[in-house]
Symmetry: C2
């Protein structure tokens, strides 16, 4: 079965799914995106993703190309046409097509929208979680507006590539003050030897992760200790556990940081518990 993509009003074979060369997403990275987990054919925490999408678009003054209600219908239809049971949907909205000029088009254009969906291997993802992943740290070099989930991801691309070349899976950015901000495509967490779950405030330096937000409910419900504060790589090296959160990975245990074993060197029990409990706190639609 070939995959189907929704592109500007049409469901198209992925192989033929194209956008114009003067789409501002292509020439200026002038657009935003979302990734949602699909589980049992249903979409995890979709209202939170749509709310964040609307916020990102608002910050860039790009109009929603359709109402949230219609968007949800199209997302479900894209999942259905691709027969996705476990996997992800990817959604991208850009300012639209216009002759190249940095400033916004003087005559408003229709935003472009692309939605794709694909199956992932649940078994493979679970196996990765059972093994845990490696993380490296790299200097923060992104612009300050990382609160906008924009497609201007070149620094993230280079950080992820560096991680892979060093045998790791994710890169954590470390800011000028020596604190971890977040991963190239995830939020960063540690659990102290005292059992406190620690992650940075979403007020600055990071994207307000949807999975991060839901996990705060899980932590509260399990009555685990929680400290919302930045941490350094040095503190992370000495932590009992570490993990990352992202929609496509939920809670993914980290077993090495910069080549140093974290805790006992295997996925930590609290991280695995949070991973297990997560979907009891998410909304399915």
């Amino acid at each position: 079965m070939s995959r189907i993509a929704y592109v500007n009003g049409q469901y198209r074979d992925l192989r033929d799914a194209t956008v114009h060369i003067e789409d501002r997403g292509y020439q200026f990275s002038d657009g935003v995106y979302e990734v949602c987990e699909v589980r049992g054919g249903r979409i995890v925490d979709l209202p939170k993703h749509v709310a964040r999408l609307q916020r990102s678009l608002g910050e860039l003054r790009i109009d929603m190309p359709m109402s949230p209600q219609v968007l949800k219908i199209v997302i479900h239809e894209t999942v259905r046409r691709n027969r996705v049971t476990y996997g992800i949907i990817y959604l991208q909205i850009t300012r639209g097509v216009a002759h190249r000029d940095h400033a916004f088009p003087v005559n408003p254009v229709k935003p472009s929208i692309v939605i794709t969906a694909k199956n992932l291997s649940y078994a493979k993802n679970q196996a990765t979680a059972a093994r845990g992943i490696g993380v490296i740290t790299v200097p923060e070099n992104r612009w300050p507006r990382v609160d906008i989930k924009s497609v201007a991801l070149l620094p993230n691309v280079l950080a992820k590539q560096q991680a892979r070349e060093q045998g790791a899976y994710e890169a954590w950015f470390v800011d000028h003050d020596g604190f971890v901000t977040e991963g190239a495509s995830s939020n960063a967490w540690i659990i102290t030897k005292e059992g406190a779950v620690v992650t940075r405030s979403a007020e600055s330096g990071i994207l307000a992760g949807v999975t991060r937000k839901v996990l705060l409910d899980v932590i509260a419900s399990l009555q685990m200790k929680f400290e919302e504060r930045p941490f350094t790589p040095q503190e992370a090296y000495g932590a009992a556990e570490a993990f990352v959160t992202a929609s496509s990975q939920i809670v993914m245990p980290v077993v090495t940081i910069d080549g140093k074993s974290i805790g006992t060197g295997v996925p930590g029990p609290l991280a695995l518990k949070l991973r297990e409990q997560f979907h009891g706190f998410s909304a399915f639609s």
Copy 2:
């Protein structure tokens, strides 16, 4: 006459010129670009642009999709098919099409290449130079790798839009130390009351502009005083003249910065002289 675009090996009607939705330029701003001036149907300083393109690609480890020799032939053919006498060519190369994953594709893909050309109004451009443009200053918020001419231009888009909304044409970024780095799509220059032309070193904080580089030859040849050093907005407010350089604008006089008149409030004689002399020092091909 409809415009023609060169896209991955084919000359296509601009209206039908598309790239795949999984082109990494679209999903990750994982690509670079160049803009060259066309004058009398010939391309200005093409070898310097190609050399810079190769450097940008090298920094991102993207292969040239064709040899520099073939690239030059395709650029000329694109100019010819669009009957451009005075105008610009735009060239964009991205890492290519691959299923979405931040790190570079594990199995190498062919880079994507797009080239467009268009006529501009010479009279209109000259009229703008005769009037001069307004500039605003904004805090530098781009990533440090601005030496790579990448399509990750969202901060530049927002700065240009802010300039337009404040009745100006260009925005100059001001770094953490209070110095102007460069414009959102140009290099920044002032001329002191003592007649010294001042611009920042290309060693850090700015793109090594091709027009900037050629202008250094013009300045040397005219035996004008030259100081390669950063300057503050405060120094610029009190300068005798100011101007920006870019391939599409050559030397464009600046008459206001943050709403303050520069010098006599009209384009300065030295800036206009540099503009006039410029093409005597550029290479046409």
